[in-house]
Symmetry: C2
Subunit: 529 residues, 2 copies
């Protein structure tokens, strides 16, 4: 049967409340959310008794998406179309009046700010599906969606003015030092805090979570959704559900969230601190996610002290916690060498004043770590942990930013936006891991805590077959970046190079005067003929 009037009406009503992009008349933008909304049975337990999916086809290509029960007799299948043009769908269900429903819709060009989902690009980097480079610059508000509404709105307002384009956030509520409040809602039916019915979800909780995904999308922020975490320790027991409940939860989340283009899957925060889970559990989770996500979002897993095996094929990028790796570009880049995937240091200690070693970096130190990670060809994550009488700390609950690093990270973001589309890569790592860029074209050299007074103009010979060839006479411009004071100072004139054994130096042997302060970088660009 064809999609009936009721279904379309329900769908539109739903859309009005969530702000999604399905158009009336069966039109949706590329990488928008197309939804099939259908009335169905309410008897028994619809979350487990009724199966529903849909096959979406365009020519020879077909994609299957699993549906979900949204409560109140409403069933839904969501789909993120990645091709323009006419699409067709047909549902399949264990319930006759949800089965074999078919329809057509048109996928139109995306709005200007919609570049599609983020994918891996050039082995170590990211780009949106339309090819636009995505230079990752993330922060964390682990439990922000589980705070009161006013605080959530304040967090969104703060994010709108901040430089971040990714946010790490948990589905489940968080219980930890400075985090002892109950959330407004819970993901499961049952009696808080421990007598849950894991076979019945709370659709209101998930609709609210989706609203927050959509809110972030409007701000151009990727939602790095943390599916499991240890900050529970049995208080609610979401960290120790039976395997059947874990898997059902993952499939429900997949059905609901995967059509949102700004979703990333983070299997866990500090997976190894979850005492009731094994590494094999997380391998199973990864396989469930990777084989059941029709949109193929990025998938990662974040560690406490024990590195996960990030060589597994379903892991798209390396999400690392390490308290010292980004103190040194030479450390950070090893993760690239070893994994051959993009590396995101999602926890490197935080700017703040907590009485914890992981939570009292100075802003200078955190910004320094971002720059070391950047010239290592990796990406670094921000977090802020300033004590507050109300226990509202950005790292976990959101609210307002109080630190000095975000302004400097906005400066770094400008530098990244101006950097090569291919990404920043180490260029001569076994000699000097602080020289990065694209060989022959663009160099970023970071002096960190060193305070040199001069720098001899000398570029490493491009590695065989990489970057643009250099020959005698090729000219470069130089800018001095003060990464802390956020200034860009062009060095007058041009530097023409002359070949040496392992390098191309200025043909006149010139050096560049530097301010003799810490946290200085050089940006060197080839002058195009």
């Amino acid at each position: 049967m064809k999609l009936n009037r009721f279904a379309i009406c329900a769908g539109l009503l739903w859309l009005l409340t969530t702000g999604l992009s399905l158009q009336a008349g069966g039109m949706v933008e590329q990488w928008g959310v197309f939804q099939i909304i259908l009335p169905g049975p309410t008897n028994g337990n619809p979350f487990v008794d009724t199966t529903l999916s849909a096959r979406f086809t365009q020519g020879d290509m077909s994609v299957d998406a699993t549906g979900f029960y949204d409560g109140d007799g409403i069933y839904c299948v969501r789909f993120m179309p990645d091709r323009l043009g006419e699409w067709h769908y047909t549902t399949a269900s264990s319930v006759a009046n949800l089965d074999h429903i078919s329809g057509d819709f048109t996928v139109v060009k995306p709005a200007a700010e919609n570049h599609g989902p983020v994918r891996v690009a050039n082995t170590y980097h990211f780009a949106y599906a339309d090819g636009t480079p995505y230079k990752e610059l993330g922060t964390t508000c682990y439990a922000w969606v589980n705070q009161d509404e006013a605080l959530q709105e304040q967090t969104l307002k703060t994010l709108a003015a901040a430089p971040f384009n990714k946010l790490r956030m948990c589905v489940f509520p968080k219980r930890y030092d400075w985090n002892t409040n109950e959330p407004p809602m819970y993901p499961f039916a049952g009696i808080p805090t421990t007598n849950w019915d894991f076979t019945r979800f709370n659709p209101e909780f998930f609709r609210h979570f989706e609203q927050r995904i959509a809110d972030l999308q409007k701000l151009g922020i990727e939602a790095d959704i943390i599916l499991f975490h240890p900050y529970d320790e049995g208080h609610w027991g979401f960290d120790r559900m039976p395997a059947s409940a874990d898997d059902r939860y993952l499939r429900y989340v997949l059905a609901r969230f995967s059509a949102y283009r700004n979703v990333w899957w983070s299997l866990a925060n500090e997976y190894d601190f979850m005492k009731k889970k094994t590494e094999a559990d997380f391998v199973r989770f990864g396989e469930i996610i990777s084989t059941n996500d029709p949109s193929h979002h990025l998938i990662s897993i974040h560690n406490g002290q024990k590195m996960f095996n990030h060589t597994l094929p379903w892991i798209t990028h390396v999400s690392v916690q390490n308290g010292s790796a980004v103190e040194d570009a030479g450390r950070a880049e090893l993760f690239r060498d070893i994994y051959r995937k993009p590396v995101v240091f999602d926890e490197v200690k935080y700017e703040g004043n907590l009485p914890k070693r992981w939570g009292n970096l100075s802003a200078e130190e955190l910004v320094f770590r971002f720059w070391e990670g950047t010239v290592a060809g990796t990406y670094v994550g921000h977090g802020e942990t300033y004590l507050s009488p109300d226990n509202i700390i950005w790292w976990s609950k959101g609210g307002v930013l109080k630190g000095q690093s975000p302004a400097r990270l906005a400066f770094l973001k400008q530098v990244l936006a101006d950097s090569p589309a291919e990404g920043i890569d180490p260029i001569d790592k076994w000699q000097d891991p602080t020289i990065a860029g694209q060989p022959g074209k663009y160099y970023l050299i970071y002096f960190g805590k060193q305070q040199p007074a001069t720098w001899e103009f000398k570029l490493p010979k491009p590695p065989l077959g990489k970057g643009a060839p250099l020959t005698n006479g090729v000219a470069f411009t130089v800018e001095i970046l003060d990464t802390w004071n956020m200034t860009v100072t062009p060095v007058p004139g041009k530097f023409k190079v002359k070949k040496g054994d392992y390098s191309y130096a200025d043909e006149a042997g010139r050096s560049i005067e530097l301010p003799g302060k810490p946290y200085v970088a050089l940006r060197i660009k080839r002058v195009e003929d």
Copy 2:
């Protein structure tokens, strides 16, 4: 049939010439080489026409070993027994008079210097099969067995006086800068240099190679046998044999060498520089070795610029080339975190004066790198590349050592011999990666190129559940090690600790005066009650 008189005679004759440890009367020491030597057909191509193996049994336990053709109508099966007592064997062959030959022999206690093969111990370290710790300290003479006999003898003499307990060495000859001489023998029959019969081995070549393995064994040196390497580039073509020849070669080498207890398998040097091989080829090689080595020797693979996937289960330890990782303990220890296996930096640039960036480290720099690697809980490899008019450079051909690092590595060897049997591990790596040892018991703190005048006595709190617990009043002694000048200076008195937030400091808040020179370490030992 029972082993006939001819076979025993031939075996004894063979043994007399190679110095192996099979005793007359069917006795062999534990981890010695037991051999079955049998006359057999010489017609056709015995290397491929005749199959031969033997099953060795003791009670319920059985081990299969593949035999090989040694030329001149002699067939052989070798076996390294790892249990004392009575053993039985029965052969199996495609040739009737090699088939179903059985016999008995007795495995007796090993000689004092025989500790068995080296195995992985405590995840990140090594020990001999009898439990004796093995603190790896290796060097390289890649092509020493393919030089003239006088030079080989000189190399052995040098090794006898040097501190090294592992030698990296290639089977195939080497062609490279400073290495253009032809070897005295070749591994295959046929016409040098390119018209080989890859189906016929040259037994003399392999008997000679085995002699060298045995020579190293007598010196207490593990033979890290490099099975493939790129330093050929078609000159002989051993780097580009067909897959069938590669695999036949590996099986022949396995049959001949695996009964020698001091063998390690290194699938390749700089595997990624072998242009005609893929990573899948090396995975196949690793699987052939690991499933066909009855003695289960250590297996590794060494990279050029591209890290291999050392998480694969048949890789026992990580063999790395990296030109900068051991400049910093914080870099080196990441390989442990990621792979959870012992890490051996088998190439970190060499002490020497070559006009190559990889071959002109100062001795100070190389020794510094060993110490950084040591406090990272990893192992570092030596190599020496001093130019010589005769082109004899230790790194490749052996000969004599000319550098200043070996004496300092002998000092390091003494320090390692005195260190805990469990190995040296990083203790507080996200705060200070230069503090290592076993928490609560033994600390090695290395200041590297820093020249501090004092050190405040303060030990990191032992990580939860690791090492010996610390309580107020536990006492320590301190020694100052000058790792370059090779001196050990005890600090008078004892230091009793007092608990702090993250540390145990001297209860009187004392500091230790240091010499204010580079390359100083502290050795701190708990005073046993």
